[in-house]
Assembly symmetry: C2
Homo-oligomer: 117 residues x 2
């Protein structure tokens, strides 16, 4: 079995650089597909496909306008990622200065028996 379908969750959707690129572009505002084709350099079908994945995880919304489909970002879908990563923010943020040393020592004590849990 290979990796679960990319469509499954936001983490997978965003693992693809081109999809991040698309989101970054859309962060500047609503865009029709053709704009994205031009800006990304991808072929149109590929863009539509990436947009589909992004749609399926809710990272973008669409709106029809004449023959065009205007895509816009829905950052909400990225919240799970933000929340998950935020737990590790401690590692690099100065906001948690002294605290770390202490916590790490406590953790080391708890775990150093190496037995299962």
């Amino acid at each position: 079995m290979a990796r679960a379908a990319t469509t499954a969750d936001a983490f997978n959707a965003v693992a693809e650089p081109r999809r991040r690129q698309i989101l970054d572009i859309l962060a500047g505002g609503e865009r029709p597909v053709n704009d994205l084709v031009g800006l990304t350099g991808l072929a149109q079908p590929q863009v539509s496909r990436h947009l589909r994945v992004l749609r399926e995880v809710g990272a973008v919304d669409v709106r029809d306008q004449g023959r065009q489909r205007l895509y816009r970002i829905n950052g909400q879908a990225l919240k799970p990622i933000h929340d998950w990563v935020a737990a590790y923010e401690r590692s690099w943020s100065e906001r948690f200065g002294q605290l770390d040393a202490v916590l790490e020592e406590l953790q080391a004590e708890e775990v150093d028996d190496g037995s299962d849990e």
Copy 2:
């Protein structure tokens, strides 16, 4: 061409649920591989494989202790993800209340010609 190697960057490394699970466990402190095998329910080779990917993107560090290899988290490697997602935090955080409406209007004006950039 298929998806870029999972090994390439943190986004891909973390796209795999099992690897997030491993990181979550390691968040509780340093652990030998065997602990992870027990806690994840994965077979030992699979765990070693996931750890390798995590190592290659710098998300974990290893330390030898006798026959064991103790893995620990290095959250630093996740900073790029945090930084990228943070740009979209506006969408769900109440911290940016009124601001949004204004910005969105500005963006709409900038973009509504639909031409390329």
